[in-house]
């Protein structure tokens, strides 16, 4: 009993060491600068067919779970059907087919995003609603040479995080989406 004690070891586990390391990195970051609101763009991020898309929240009325929709006969294949949202009948468009993208794998396709502006209102299909996000206007890379065809007209650009930003205004204004067919 000489009173000689062993020194206490503070770090006992690997996980604790990692946590401490992450904290140190977070503290080492530079604080973000305040950005003016005009340069900011609020978008809704969703996934479709394994890829993430973004659309300006200005054109989004609401998101809604896709339940009990009614398929419509005699319409182009990109029109999935119609749905009753709290008494209002809306048509549902599958953007993948509309854009002519290949049907790749099975998505959940159980969410819809209701787009609207002053004259138009319809829903587009989504696999998953990821959430809202605010990005800088200049972060969007607008001229992408690889994107051509129909798709290119409805795209605003791609962010550095591989987020494809859809141009909501053009989609809503597009005439090809309006089906006007009279019985002969």
């Amino acid at each position: 009993m000489t009173g000689k004690k062993k020194p206490q070891i503070a770090i006992r586990k690997e996980s604790e060491l990692e946590i401490l390391h992450a904290r140190a990195q977070a503290l080492a970051k530079e604080p973000e600068k305040a950005v003016p609101a005009s340069e900011l763009l609020e978008i809704i991020v969703f996934s479709l067919g394994g890829e993430n898309y973004g659309i300006e929240s200005v054109f989004v009325r609401e998101v809604y779970p896709l339940r009990d929709f009614t398929p419509l006969p005699g319409v182009p294949s990109f029109v999935l059907g119609i749905i009753n949202v709290r008494g209002q009948i809306l048509s549902i468009v599958n953007l993948k087919i509309f854009f002519g993208l290949p049907e790749k794998g099975l998505g959940q396709l159980n969410k819809m995003i209701i787009l609207h502006d002053e004259c138009m209102e319809f829903g587009i299909l989504a696999d998953e609603i990821i959430g809202t996000k605010v990005i800088l206007q200049k972060a969007i890379q607008t001229s992408v040479p690889t994107i051509t065809g129909i798709g290119a007209t409805y795209l605003k650009g791609v962010t550095s995080e591989h987020l494809i930003i859809l141009d909501g205004k053009r989609i809503l204004a597009d005439k090809t989406i309006i089906i006007h067919q009279e019985a002969e």
Binding site: I44, S57, V63, I129, G131, T132
Partner: protein, 546 residues
């Protein structure tokens, strides 16, 4: 001559000896007749003429005696002597009278008869004169008596003598005649006998020659061959004959005998060869047997040693068997204890099975409940999803409100993160639940297996119980058997002792056997030598075609 040769030997002999006998009979008859004649004539001579001569001779001697006595009487003075002489005279005269009587009885011819009568008369006269003389003597007139004696009596006496002498001479003459006659007869008979003897001699010679020719010469031939056979030569044999008599039969028999003999000697030769080789083999075998007997004797000695060891082993095993029997007794006790334990085990296993069934039921319920939890989690996930959508909608609405909605965006963000967290929690719960379900499934399976195992255990334990029961019975039997083994091993010890004694006897017997085998070997050697000798003897025989 053929007929004679074919005649049977008795026939031949009968012929030869019969003819001889016939001749002999004739000779005998002739001789008999001659001898009978001679004998009868001699008898008549003897009966008559000799009797006459002898009687007359006697008569003369008696007369002489009488005359002597008379003269003695005359000369004798004493009376006693005179009387004695008289007595002698009387006796002699009685004899003379007897002679006369005998002569009268005979068959005399007439001349003899007349002479006899003359003799009688003279005798009578002589007696009368003699009586006178005797009377004169007694009277004392001896000179007168002497006178008479010298004169008259001498004449009578002379006449008696002459007559009797004449008669005697006549009788002797007759005897001579008869003898002469007989001699003649005998000569005739001898002549006849000589003739017959000559005939018989000639006949006998012929017969002898014939018999020699028909019997002796073949016999000689056969005897010569027999002598050669005696000298071990069987190469020659008699020529076959067609004679029908015994000689022919004998020749044939002899031929057959020689053939048979040569065959037999051939067979004997073969047999002797076989005997020689066999005896040789026997000798070899007996030698081997002798050595084998010696080996077996040593083997028996070794066996005796082994038996001694086995006896020791049997003693040891007897003791071991005793200890085994004790052990078996203990095993019986232990197995009964084990049986009780196994029964307890079976009961416990049954209890465990009930418990296992209860556990299985509980785990089944747990599984169902975890599935219900899964349903609840699904609804919670749905709720979290909706909350997320609601948060997004709230954020959209807040964005629409512009600067005023800025605080609400934060709230919406918080709601969204809550929804995210609840979703993550449900995901975790789901994962955990999945794990739980897996575990419960495993537990269900495990309980099932456990139930099965317990069933198996129950079965096993009941089987074990059966086995232990059987084991107990077996150990009981084993105990009994061990007791029997103890008894048996003791008997074995006794038996081994007896075997030891028996082995000693066997050892002695083996030694005797070995010596007997030696003797047998010697005997086989002798036999072998005998075989060689026999072979030599047989080799002396010369056989036709061999």
């Amino acid at each position: 001559m053929k007929w004679f040769a074919n005649l049977s030997t008795p026939g031949k002999l009968l012929l030869a000896f019969g003819s001889m006998l016939l001749i002999l009979g004739v000779v005998i008859v002739v001789s008999y007749q001659s001898i009978t004649n001679i004998t009868s004539s001699f008898k008549s001579v003897h009966d008559q003429q000799f009797t006459i001569a002898i009687e007359l001779h006697e008569l003369r001697s008696q007369q002489n005696y009488i005359r002597g006595q008379v003269l003695e009487m005359i000369l004798t003075l004493d009376k006693a002597g005179q009387q004695k002489a008289e007595k002698n005279i009387n006796e002699a005269s009685n004899v003379v009278e007897g002679i006369i009587k005998n002569l009268s009885k005979l068959n005399l011819d007439s001349k003899s008869l007349s002479q006899l009568n003359e003799l009688k008369s003279h005798l009578t006269a002589y007696r009368q004169i003699r009586d006178q003389q005797i009377a004169l003597i007694y009277e004392g007139k001896r000179e007168e008596a002497e006178q008479i004696a010298l004169q008259t009596q001498d004449d009578n006496f002379e006449k008696i003598r002459s007559i009797s002498a004449e008669m005697g001479a006549r009788a002797e003459d007759e005897v001579d005649v008869v003898i002469a006659q007989n001699q003649l007869d005998a000569a005739k008979a001898i002549q006849l006998c000589l003739i017959l003897g000559g005939v018989a001699f000639v006949f006998g010679l012929g017969m002898m020659f014939l018999l020699h020719l028909t019997m002796a010469s073949p016999l000689l031939e056969i005897s010569a061959i027999a002598a050669r056979i005696a000298d071990c030569d069987l190469t020659t044999t008699v020529a076959a004959t067609d004679r029908a008599d015994e000689m022919g039969a004998m020749t044939q028999s002899f031929k057959r005998m020689t053939d048979t003999l040569s065959n037999q000697i051939r067979e004997i030769t073969d047999g002797v060869n076989v005997l020689a080789s066999s005896s040789n083999e026997i000798l070899v075998s007996t030698s081997q047997l002798a050595s084998g007997a010696v080996e077996s004797a040593t083997g028996i000695s070794e066996t005796m040693t082994t038996v001694e060891e086995v006896r020791q082993a049997a003693r040891l095993s007897s003791e071991k068997a005793k200890s085994v029997a004790d052990s078996a007794q203990r095993v019986v006790q232990v197995s009964q204890t084990g049986k009780k334990a196994v029964d307890d085990t079976v009961a416990t296993m049954l209890h465990i099975r009930d418990q296992m069934e209860a556990i299985a039921k509980t785990i089944l319920q747990l599984s169902e409940q975890s599935q219900a939890i899964g349903g609840i989690i699904a609804s919670v996930t749905d709720l979290a999803d909706q909350s997320n959508l609601l948060a997004v909608n709230a954020a959209i609405e807040a964005a629409k409100a512009g600067e005023q909605g800025r605080g609400f965006v934060v709230v919406a963000q918080e709601i969204k993160s809550l929804a995210e967290q609840s979703k993550q929690a449900t995901t975790q719960i789901r994962a955990i639940l999945t794990e739980v379900q897996k575990t419960t499934n495993v537990a269900v399976l495990a309980t099932e297996q456990g139930t099965k195992a317990v069933d198996g255990g129950v079965k096993q334990s009941s089987q074990t119980g059966e086995a232990v029961k059987v084991l107990a019975e077996s150990s009981m039997e084993a105990s009994q058997v061990a007791s029997q083994i103890v008894a048996s091993s003791q008997q074995q010890v006794v038996g081994m002792d007896q075997i030891g004694v028996a082995m000693t006897n066997i050892n002695q017997a083996g030694a005797q056997n070995a010596s007997a085998m030696k003797q047998a070997e010697i005997a086989a050697k002798n036999l072998n030598e005998l075989g060689q000798k026999l072979r030599k003897i047989v080799d002396q025989f010369k056989i036709k075609g061999a």
